[in-house]
């Protein structure tokens, strides 16, 4: 056989295979094009995925619900103490907060009631007249309306330097607390520019910090318990007195006042707030 004839024979024998190869190649090309071209691929896959997602959404509870519930149940059963430990503080705080809030609301309501019925002074004198002394009711009402003063800080504006303080517990360094309070105050001012507005209260669980700005310094009173409008206005009056009677004198004669003397004056002034609560 010569070469030419061999070629013809090869053509005849492999014709089919060649055709198939070509078909395959073009199919691969087409698929490749679809896969590498997001726009073409997406609609095809999206349809399938959508079906799957919809199916899962519809059937998730039946498919996995029991297994999940069982496993959670088992876990709780096996580690009851841990669960209680984890929940207890949260529940405790929630209950405490709830009670405080309810009491605050109640106290507001009583206040409003009283304001409507009598003036405070009239009420006190009437009670006194009736009972010849201070009634239990008055004490209860007053007690309800009174938060407890824990600490007082007198702080210079801007520099955050502590001018004086009064505190029952000596935990952190007071100078640093004064600095941090000032930083927080100015942070709020910088972050939420409200046209000369100032931070007035900070609440933390059952602690309430009342901030009063007096020209060159500010006063921070730290309370526990709840506070109603009546108490706030009493407090504002007291702060005005405090500025007049203590701070202005102090500023005028800084040299002759010792820090201890100032502390005594702060204590004398603000202890009045706690006196009412007995």
């Amino acid at each position: 056989m010569d070469k030419e004839k061999f070629e013809v024979l090869k053509d005849i024998l492999f014709e089919d295979a060649r055709k198939r190869n070509e078909e395959l190649a073009s199919k691969v090309n087409a698929i490749d094009e679809i896969i590498s071209d997001r726009e073409k691929l997406e609609p095809r896959i999206a349809l399938i995925l959508e079906d799957q997602v919809e199916f899962l959404e519809k059937n998730f509870p039946q498919l996995f619900g029991n297994a999940i519930t069982a496993s959670i149940r088992k876990q709780i059963k096996e580690s009851q103490e841990e669960v209680v430990d984890a929940l207890y503080p949260i529940m405790g705080k929630m209950v405490k907060k709830y009670i405080y809030r309810e009491l605050a609301l109640l106290s507001e309501r009583i206040d409003r009631q009283l304001e409507k019925a009598f003036s405070w002074e009239g009420w006190v004198t009437r009670i006194k007249a009736w009972c010849g002394g201070v009634s239990e009711k008055e004490i209860i009402m007053k007690g309800l309306a009174r938060p407890h003063l824990e600490e007082v800080f007198i702080i210079q504006q801007h520099t955050g330097l502590l001018i004086g303080s009064y505190s029952k517990n000596n935990t952190l360094d007071k100078d640093m607390i004064a600095g941090m309070l000032t930083a927080i105050k100015s942070f709020v001012k910088d972050a939420f520019r409200g046209g000369g507005q100032e931070l007035e209260t900070i609440e933390y669980e059952n602690y309430k910090l009342v901030i009063s700005n007096l020209r060159s310094f500010y006063v921070v009173l730290v309370f526990t318990g709840f506070m109603n409008a009546g108490f706030r206005s009493e407090l504002d009056d007291m702060l005005v007195d405090f500025q007049k009677e203590v701070l202005e004198k102090y500023l005028a004669n800084k040299e002759i006042f010792s820090k201890d003397q100032l502390t005594q004056l702060i204590k004398a002034q603000f202890d009045k707030l706690n006196d009412g609560e007995k």
């Binding site: 210079q156 520099t159 330097l161 952190l172 100078d175 600095g179």
Partner: protein, 161 residues
């Protein structure tokens, strides 16, 4: 209050301000405050010949060159520690302008300039780099090994009395 002074740290991000304070004082407040409110306060009492100064030191997070930070940080400051990084010229290339505008804003506040991270330099490099810094009178410090850190704050305390 007499001898309590507000001291602020200024200087570009990463020059070592926080590291200097960390080296100098024992923290009472967590450093988390830096990320939550952007500031942390520390305190150090220094005695200079019988005079006591409480330095209430303000450190701020992030970029702290003078132009970019809120006024409330600087207001009322009695003294300034201005920190540069000896290996990064970008941290001191405009120090002259910074000094001028700081003096305008806080005319009575002394400034101590700290050239930090000198532990990264050889003796020879020290001389070379320090001689070529704009302005002079730097305290050469390393917040890493503590070299001269005390001295820098002490120098400022002396000017605050």
């Amino acid at each position: 209050m007499g001898k309590s002074k507000k001291v602020i740290l200024l200087g570009n991000f990463g020059v070592g301000k926080t590291s200097l304070v960390r080296q100098y004082v024992f923290h009472q407040f967590s450093e988390e405050y830096m990320t939550t409110i952007g500031v942390r306060i520390d305190k150090k009492v220094v005695t200079i010949n019988r005079d006591e100064v409480s330095m209430i030191i303000w450190d701020i997070a992030g970029e702290s060159t003078h132009q970019k930070i809120p006024d409330s940080y600087k207001l009322g400051a009695h003294g300034i520690i201005y920190v540069i990084d000896v290996l990064r010229p970008s941290t001191y290339k405009s120090i002259e302008d910074e000094m001028i505008s700081l003096q305008e804003l806080l005319p009575n506040a002394p400034i101590v300039k700290v050239a930090n991270k000198i532990d990264l330099l050889t003796e020879k490099e020290r001389v070379e780099i320090v001689n070529n810094l704009p302005l002079n009178d730097y305290v050469l410090c390393s917040a890493k090994n503590g070299e001269n850190v005390e001295k820098a704050f002490y120098k400022l305390a002396g000017k605050l009395i």
